[in-house]
């Protein structure tokens, strides 16, 4: 052990250097990626011979200036049609236009698949579809956009081996479990890399590896604080990764997801209701269900459903022009969370709802109204249930109540600065002895033991992922991906913000976990699943998919 003790001053720099290099390298890759945006086909105006290019993404046509293709004719409805490039090739959707759409002189009912040479008639305008011969997206990223994933995986392995070395204790009860878990964790990363490359045909892994990096920081802390819980946390990572892959596959078939939306919506409301009824209070909240010895937090899984239900493809957005159903669904979910006294999660859901509602409708007035109603509701709760307000009584006064209500916050601040920029080294902190250190206070533990630089790196990573989502949203294959990806990434950032600023007394303490880092199985599973939505925004994710009709028709005829 003395050998490890002697190296530990070096280890803390090594771990920080790896974390910095890996995250910075991956973020650079996210921002420097460059892929072609091929024209999949053209609509040729039969009279003017003007060509309207059609890309991978959904194209809206109509008189309204908001449409991607503006057709300023009185015979055209404001939002007339949407053309999408789906798995079976081009599809045209009639989004309740007044004059309708005809394909090859046949009036369509709702939607119609298109093939090369089809003549489309909209409000007297006639177009011919001309499919392109180019089928694939090309990755033109330079050296910056293409990191060596092997090197990153090796660095991640080094990071995990160092935490493994630091977490072996003389006579430690769980040493075998800890060592095995870290080794399998390293193996899992490589396994995923191979599996995703060959089975999912994914060839870029920035988001997943960012997830691995953050998870590794969390696992290092959990391994040193609760050696008996490392295996559980690791299994949650595996489940999360499985969920991630499944979601990626489901999301590929974006036009079929609407069927499961209703099931998910009902399921979400149902499971929250069940939790509300049968949960035993834990730390003042009713958010935990215990099933067969495992404690799960259903609200974490509802997050995924919440985004799934909220996001929609462009043709859906254009045909359903009101938000009523989604507002009702969101109100029930948020209401149930409120009744569980899980205010942090309720706030996160409310935030995601606002983002989704705004992206769907752009209707600022309705959203302002909803915010006002929500504020009124919150005010009413504070009036009729004053003890709710007591929870937040120490906000901005933590030093006055440093041994009562402000205990967690003041200790987080004291120990965060005690670590300095480079930390005291894994296992040398004091914050770990405070209640909920590995869950709610984990940002402070990271600052104290890994240093403030590492602590701040975590929210910076969330921010970069959000910016990545925002930049890539306009080119996503479907509006569904744009909405879901932005909602998921910003939800993660919002939760990170509540967590970090809550325990540092910049915001009221709501007791939420830090995405990917905190201890907690449900949370880590949900984080990886949310990552799938962000991944779907990236056009490269489904680039290798070869549309079948296109294959048959393209070159042969």
């Amino acid at each position: 052990m003395s050998f490890i003790d002697a190296l530990s001053p070096f280890f803390r720099y090594l771990m920080l250097a790896i974390a910095l290099f890996v995250t910075v390298r991956l973020i650079i890759a996210l921002f420097c990626k460059k892929v072609t945006d091929p024209v999949r086909g053209k609509l040729i105006n039969n009279i003017t011979q003007e060509a309207i290019p059609l890309y991978d993404r959904e194209t809206s046509l109509g008189r309204n200036k908001k449409c991607d293709v503006v057709l300023s004719f009185d015979t055209i409805s404001r939002l007339h049609a949407v053309i999408a490039y789906r798995s079976k090739g081009f599809v045209i959707f009639d989004t309740f236009s007044k004059s309708g759409i005809a394909v090859n002189n046949q009036k369509i009912d709702g939607k119609s698949y298109l093939k090369n040479g089809d003549v489309i008639n909209m409000g007297g305008l006639e177009f011919t579809l001309e499919e392109s011969k180019y089928k694939y997206i090309k990755d033109k990223s330079g050296a910056f956009g293409k990191p060596s994933y092997g090197v990153i995986l090796i660095l991640l392995a080094v990071f995990n081996i160092v935490s493994l070395l630091l977490n072996i204790r003389p006579d430690g009860e769980y040493n075998v479990q800890v060592v095995l878990t870290y080794i399998i964790f390293i193996a899992m990363q490589w396994l995923y890399y191979v599996f995703a490359s060959f089975v999912l045909k994914i060839y870029n892994f920035e988001l997943e590896m960012i997830g691995f990096m953050l998870t590794s920081i969390g696992l290092a802390i959990i391994g040193s604080m609760y050696p008996g819980a490392v295996l559980k946390q690791f299994l949650a990572v595996v489940l999360g990764l499985v969920g991630y892959c499944v979601l990626l596959i489901i999301l590929r078939f974006v036009s079929t997801v609407k069927v499961i939306r209703y099931i998910l919506a009902a399921g979400a409301i149902g499971i929250l209701a069940v939790t509300l009824v049968i949960a035993e209070p834990t730390n003042g909240a009713l958010s935990w269900l215990t099933i067969g010895g495992f404690s799960i937090q259903p609200s974490e899984f509802v997050k995924i459903a919440f985004i799934f239900v909220g996001a929609a493809t462009l043709e859906k957005l254009q045909s359903i022009r009101h938000l009523t159903m989604y507002i009702i669904f969101a109100a029930i979910c948020v209401g149930e969370l409120f009744l569980m006294y899980d205010f942090g999660t309720a706030l996160i859901f409310f935030f995601a709802f606002i983002v989704i509602a705004f992206m769907r409708s752009g209707d600022t007035r309705t959203i302002m109204l909803i915010c006002m109603v929500a504020a009124l509701g919150a005010a009413l709760i504070l009036i009729f249930r004053p003890y709710v307000a007591n929870r937040f009584a120490t906000y901005l006064h933590v030093w006055e109540y440093m041994d009562e209500g402000g205990y967690q916050q003041t200790r987080t601040l004291i120990y965060s600065v005690s670590g300095g920029l480079f930390g005291l080294g894994l296992g040398n902190g004091e914050l770990r002895n405070i209640f909920a250190a590995a869950e709610d206070l984990v940002f402070g533990v990271v600052c104290e033991e890994f240093g403030i630089i590492m602590g701040f790196l975590i929210p910076i990573v969330y921010i970069c992922v959000v910016i990545f989502a925002v930049i890539n949203a306009p080119k996503a294959k479907s509006a569904f991906y744009s909405i879901a990806g932005i909602a998921a990434s910003s939800m993660m950032l919002f939760q990170g913000m509540l967590s970090i600023f809550g325990i540092t007394d910049i915001l009221p303490l709501t007791g939420v976990t830090l995405p990917f880092v905190s201890k907690g199985g449900s949370s880590i599973i949900s984080c990886f699943c949310l990552l799938a939505f962000i991944k779907a925004i990236d056009t490269r994710t489904y680039a290798s998919f070869k549309p079948q009709i296109q294959l048959k028709k393209g070159a042969t005829k």
Binding site: P9, V417, E430
Partner: protein
């Protein structure tokens, strides 16, 4: 599609909020880091609420005054030393706020914003602090005070090093009296127990103030060498009676200083006026807070703004509302001893990290206050005062210059006894201030203490 996706830009608002919040958090960390990390609640530093993470504190000769052993703070073996340095070392609970263990907490823990408390974690203790004190001299001074309240302080007026600083009442930090006993404060035994009288004490100066008045007279009265005065034991200025303990008879300026004649000084003060005296007091550093390590001294008070002529005359002999801080008095002596340039006294010599690196070294600050001529005239007068008045027998070989003071504080209470002075011997450039509270005559209470301490200082330096 483009419209929908573009609405996603709205989440950049959240990004801006989070970035702002992170900036604010970084700012909070930077500004408050030191304060938070050195709080008593930080268990890296404390054991049972007591500050144990500090490094060693040693005196000028390397004698350990305080150190941490087995998670406990241990002090010097001698009770005399422990008591004599109590106020300089301070306690671990922070009652003695100017004590090194509290005021230098950050340095002792080794905290810095870059590495936090890492050095403490790595070496098991914080930085070491070396003081300028000589613990032997301190113990001698403690003995000499013999339980009376007051302060003894001596410093090297060439370098600024404080060799001795004892504040009384004090207690043995190893056997601190119970909080209850202290609160009870029988017979005022624990008056100002936690206060270091050197830096927080304020005393009526009595005749020791005549040093300042003398300087002012030399500066403002050109024909002072021809001046003569006859003392009848009392004089009246603007209807206010000024008294002397004896009828001093006819005398010149030098004799007036030696005899410490109140009537003569009252007349001189009346002649030069309150503006001249106020100006000189300002030059000497009245109303100024001096930085003492990481703390500040109490400023000496000299305010004649509402004084009538009679009040001004009393102020000239060191009464009225004037109050002097003993640290400040040291600087006054240093200024006279050192050709008008006061080297400010300090007590922390250096801060060293556990691996022996010197992190901070004291640098002397010098204040130019009066001309060398005035200083040297004063010095000669003070030298003659010792020769003719107290006798060199008290200060063998020291070429002592000095002035006693007997400061009336209230009716029915014995006056504070003062001795202030310095050695003109090149080999012992040390100034001393002694105040024995309610000790009576300056020559009977403070002078013997000064004599004992100066002789010990001389011994230690040669």
């Amino acid at each position: 599609m483009k419209k929908t996706a573009r609405r996603g830009l709205v989440v950049l608002l959240l990004v801006a909020v989070v970035l702002g919040g992170l900036g604010f958090l970084a700012f909070k960390f930077a500004v408050n880091g030191e304060k938070w990390a050195t709080l008593r609640a930080n268990l890296h530093l404390t054991e049972d609420g007591s500050f144990v993470a500090a490094g060693n504190i040693t005196d000028r000769n390397g004698e350990i005054l305080a150190q941490t052993k087995d998670n406990e703070r241990v002090y010097n073996d001698s009770e005399r030393v422990r008591r004599s340095v109590l106020h300089i070392i301070g306690d671990t609970e922070g009652y003695i706020s100017s004590g090194v263990q509290t005021a230098y907490k950050t340095q002792l823990t080794g905290y810095n914003p870059i590495t936090g408390l890492y050095s403490l974690k790595r070496y098991g203790r914080g930085n070491d602090i070396k003081l300028t004190l000589d613990s032997k001299v301190c113990a001698t001074a403690y003995d000499a005070l013999n339980g009376r309240k007051g302060v003894v302080a001596a410093y090297n007026y060439k370098t600024g090093e404080i060799l001795c600083s004892v504040s009384s009442p004090n207690y043995d930090i190893r056997n601190k009296p119970s909080e209850e006993t202290i609160q009870k404060n029988e017979n005022g035994k624990y008056d100002g127990l936690y206060m270091n009288r050197l830096i927080d004490g304020l005393y009526t100066p009595g005749s020791t103030f005549k040093i300042i008045t003398t300087a002012s007279v030399i500066e403002n009265k050109a024909d002072i060498s021809e001046w003569q005065f006859e003392c009848n034991g009392e004089t009246v200025i603007d209807g206010v009676k000024i008294t002397c303990p004896d009828k001093h008879g006819v005398m010149n300026f030098e004799e007036a200083f030696t005899k410490s004649c109140n009537c003569a000084y009252a007349a001189l003060t009346d002649e030069i006026g309150k503006n001249a005296l106020t100006k000189t007091a300002k030059e000497f550093g009245f109303s100024k807070e001096f930085s003492f390590g990481n703390a500040y001294t109490d400023a000496s008070v000299f305010d004649l703004s509402d004084a009538e002529r009679g009040d001004v005359a009393w102020a000239g002999v060191g009464q009225y509302t004037t109050l002097v801080n003993p640290y400040h008095m040291l600087t006054v002596l240093g200024c006279v001893a050192n050709n008008g340039n006061a080297v400010l006294p300090y007590v922390v010599s250096n801060v060293t990290s556990p691996d022996g690196k010197i992190l901070k070294e004291a640098t002397a600050v010098t204040e130019s206050r009066i001309t060398a001529d005035v200083a040297n005239t004063l010095k000669t007068m003070m030298r003659k005062n010792v020769e003719n008045n107290y006798g060199d027998g008290n200060f063998k070989g020291l070429e002592m210059c000095g002035k006693t003071g007997t400061a009336e504080v209230a009716d029915g209470v014995k006056p504070h006894s003062w001795f202030v002075g310095f050695s003109a011997n090149e080999n012992c450039p040390v100034a001393i201030v002694v105040v024995v509270e309610n000790g009576g005559w300056g020559s009977s209470a403070a002078l013997p203490v000064a004599s004992t301490v100066m002789n010990e200082v001389f011994k230690s330096l040669s």
